[in-house]
Symmetry: C2
Subunit: 598 residues, 2 copies
């Protein structure tokens, strides 16, 4: 592919020369700062061939670079070979960010062109004093057959799943606006809009969002969404009716600016979140309302959405019960099949999806399955190829990281499965990672504690053996929404967001040895009250994920009694909960798999 990408970089340079630009930034996101963009906005992949989930390109007349983080270094080096595009490493101590690099490269100023739809309003301020030229859809002229903006059927979710009506959520947001002396709020983040309106679609693979903008004022709610006036499917028409009945006006995606103009009264103050507002739209809104009336802050929806209500929690338990049954069926199938014949990573992945797809309410996977045997698992974000994927051998470790989207929740689970005899090092690594996962699962902490303050609990067993992993320990997860969401996380950063009761996040330490093996154990954990004393109020985690953890690769001597007790209790709970719903053959197998280790 390298010749193709060399040509595309050159085409961009011709555009630069024609327009007198010194540099172009090509962003890997969409007009809503989505983590995963629809094909239309995979501009980084189109230019460079890099398929990682995070990366931005900068092209100058004599340099082309891809900025990405630790997760994708190996993949980027492979995919960029021959393209002339160099890797710039992020999340390393010596990192130089894109704005920093541009300032160093053009100390006397320069003209930087961007597709302002795919740049966040907040990020662009870092480019000053460089001149910015905003060229929305800049690549349109070069990219033949560029995909259209997606427009998939829209469904609504009811209070029986999400626990709160659309009308109540709108009322809550209006109260927030009053408290903050704002007249309007423009929501730009797709998961926030889906949450607020109780709508879902499939505009982005794995992410059940509707590409749209939402304006909420005290007087009106306008939803700017792609619609075929006549050609919409029946489900979508029903959904529009339902949504309209809550006095939400359905408007066209392309008519955002008109809609804002109509809704605005002189002097209105509008609240926006600069982290998900695009540069192009941000400038338009700022021109319309006036700079002084643009109130920038973190969207309040983000935090409220992260704190699940009782209904959502109950549904998430159900989702994990169903998902656990699918996982156990898969693991049983895997063990049996591999003992008899050749099974590839791809086949295993497809089989796992088929078990999930059989669950009523299944709406797809929550991300692309990672099905990786042996050294392939050393790539934390390995992409299993449909053709030519590795065979799963009868020894060593197989890693499967996967999850489902259900109308009653979202799951995300990783199991590392010993396929037969394991080396001492594999066992040691397997056990140390497991200790980390258990230590975090057992954590108790005072209210007000942030994830970065307890992240070390999951890492200390690895650190003490001079081992470590380069990704976060935990991310928030949506309710039939994105598999990654904020504002909380558990990682080595300085994110001050406290973990709150009702938040659900992953507990997923790992260990990756290039060319050898990769290990990750991942459960989702619910943060909840853990009682109070004269020393304050405390919180703890409840593990939601239900799927046994294989004990055959455990180095018993590395585990302390408390960790063993946790593991035995967990495996027993998995058996007691899932067993009755499994067929006798799998139930018997699971009983053996979950037998206590002493």
């Amino acid at each position: 592919m390298s010749a193709l990408h060399l040509k595309r970089v050159e085409a961009v340079r011709e555009l630069m020369a024609d327009n007198g630009w010194d540099a172009v930034i090509i962003s890997g996101t969409d007009p809503h700062s989505s983590e995963y963009p629809a094909p239309r906005w995979k501009q980084v992949e189109w230019v460079s061939g890099f398929t990682g989930e995070a990366g931005d390109i900068v092209i100058t007349m004599d340099h082309a670079g891809l900025w990405t983080d630790t997760r994708y270094f190996i993949q980027a080096l492979e995919q960029l070979q021959g393209s002339g595009i160099e890797l710039h490493k992020m999340r390393v101590p010596e990192q130089v960010s894109i704005p920093e690099w541009l300032h160093l490269t053009f100390p006397d100023g320069g003209v930087v062109a961007v597709d302002g739809l795919c740049q966040s309003f907040g990020a662009m301020s870092e480019l000053a004093p460089l001149s910015i030229v905003d060229m929305p859809d800049m690549l349109d002229g070069l990219w033949e057959e560029r995909p259209l903006i997606p427009c998939t059927p829209i469904e609504t979710v009811g209070e029986e799943q999400v626990g709160e009506s659309r009308a109540d959520k709108i009322s809550w947001l209006r109260k927030f606006l009053l408290q903050n002396e704002c007249d309007a709020c423009l929501l730009t983040s797709l998961d926030e809009i889906a949450w607020l309106l109780n709508v879902r679609a499939n505009d982005i693979e794995y992410n059940p969002y509707v590409i749209s903008y939402l304006l909420v004022t005290q007087e009106c709610v306008k939803w700017f969404v792609l619609k075929e006036d006549d050609g919409a499917d029946e489900d979508t028409i029903d959904s529009f009716d339902d949504i309209s009945s809550d006095e939400v006006e359905i408007c066209s995606y392309g008519e955002l600016l008109d809609g804002l103009s109509v809704a605005r009264t002189e002097g209105d103050r509008i609240f926006v979140d600069p982290s998900t507002l695009s540069y192009t739209v941000g400038k338009q809104v700022s021109d319309l309302y006036g700079d002084e009336n643009l109130v920038q802050g973190a969207s309040p929806v983000k935090l409220r959405k992260a704190v699940k209500n009782e209904t959502e929690i109950a549904c998430m338990r159900e989702a994990h019960f169903e998902d656990g049954l699918a996982m156990e069926q898969f693991l049983f199938w895997l063990e049996k099949e591999v003992s008899q014949r050749v099974v590839t990573e791809w086949e295993a992945s497809e089989k796992l999806t088929s078990f999930r797809a059989a669950i009523p309410g299944y709406r797809g996977n929550s991300f692309e399955n990672i099905s990786a045997y042996g050294k392939n698992a050393a790539l934390p974000h390995y992409c299993t190829p449909a053709v030519g994927s590795a065979e799963i051998q009868r020894h060593g470790l197989y890693l499967v990281d996967s999850g489902g989207q259900y109308i009653f929740g979202t799951t995300d689970i990783t199991r590392t499965v010993p396929m037969g005899p394991c080396t001492a090092l594999e066992k040691e690594d397997y056990t140390l990672v497991l200790k980390g996962m258990i230590q975090l699962a057992m954590a108790v902490f005072p209210k007000g504690t942030a994830g970065c303050q307890i992240d070390a609990a999951a890492r200390m067993p690895l650190w003490r053996a001079r081992r470590n992993f380069g990704h976060g320990t935990g991310h928030g997860i949506g309710f039939y929404l994105g598999v990654h969401e904020g504002p909380q996380d558990i990682r080595q950063n300085f994110n001050r967001q406290a973990l709150l009761p009702g938040m659900i996040q992953s507990d997923e330490p790992g260990l990756y040895r290039e060319g050898m093996h990769g290990i990750r154990h991942e459960n989702l954990v619910l943060c909840k009250e853990a009682g109070s004393s004269e020393f304050g109020e405390f919180l703890e985690f409840e593990t939601l994920t239900l799927c046994h953890i294989d004990t055959s690769a455990i180095d018993r001597d590395l585990m302390n009694q408390e960790e063993l007790d946790w593991l035995n209790a967990y495996n027993d709970r998995v058996y007691e909960t899932l067993g009755p719903a499994l067929n006798p053959e799998i139930r018997t197998w699971l009983r053996a798999k979950t037998s206590m280790i002493l």
Copy 2:
């Protein structure tokens, strides 16, 4: 004392009325933002009677308040009784800082008077848009017999102790100035000046500093210090000779501004640290150099001073050997005496000091001994009264937190000593705190890790039992300098300063039950290299403190094997290291005290 303090508050209000001020801030620090001020600057104590080490007063016409943190709540409530001064709590979630409170109280603006010598330049900017009136030594007219600025004999410390010459330190600072395009640096922090000039004195109790300012340019070094032209003692004269031989000019403390004027060339840029520069001096420097030439930043001396060199580390080991011998003699004496007669907290404290004072090179204690029996120990910063202190009983827990200043280092150690039978709760708390101390002592972590990212290691055993403590887990410690120093710490904050090899800090979790007992176990730990692997470079702690930890109050069932192994190894090392230097009676006693628990 309350009538006296009521009168003093009223006297301040008269001053306010005469001058048309709306509020007065009285700060608990000195012109160098010292943690512990000399008596002259104990203005908060003079006004309010509060003797805690951290606190500021705000007086308005109808309110008087003391702002202090969790450590001093109980003490403040006692000492403020009847004074009409109310407690404002800091380091609690609902805290309202002094600037915030003033903005809320005077929403339409107001005039706030401060003694600008005792306010940091950095902090005053938070008062805007309130009007600030700077009245240096504001209380002079009210405070009869206010103490003078202290001026104690000055000694120099040699390279054999501190490992680096004055000339080399000055060269290093000049390089820093060149790199940062500055022409001059005004050091205002007393410990930084003492470190840079390799000088010590006793101007502040427990803190071996010289009240002074230091100007360093490429051409000159001017030390602004109190000196009696004829009346200086011989040691000080010798020290001045030594210092002058390194081309450091000795100037008068009162002639700072003149000295700066003489040294300055038009357009010079001067580096200052706004956190230790006073408001009064800051304004003067800014007026002299011009706002645009005032370069504000964290003093580079702070970080460099915190990273001890090989000589300092070797000396600190020696200090801990000597200090450990004193502690063991004291603990032996305590056990024997208490078994035979009445011993008070005060007598014990005095006895401990006498053991330390017998060490050659002893220069005083590093802070006021905390000698607290039973419920008194529940006050983390209990001040043992000379008259009427409690008797140490033959049951329960006695806490002693103390340290020495030696020409070869500084120590800080807390031992909680079971004096006989202990209750189950005392044992449980004793053991959980000990587990926390051991867990942190055993920590290994990657380079780049900050203290706040591993603080939870010391707290998790307590948190899991729904217990906690309200102070930091660890503070940096100086080398024959302040017992508290930054920039690193280990606590529940978001301080990004990484722990670096050579840094020495405390490991001191605790637990305090009001009216019952208080427990703290404290060792000093040296951060050092712990090897590297494909996963990066790692650091660990070496415990420097040498004094046995009593095992008689341990609840064995709460300890895991790893913690027991650590404790047994530590106690054995204490015996093997100190034993040969102790007299046979104490040695035999120590052998028993350090016998393994299984």
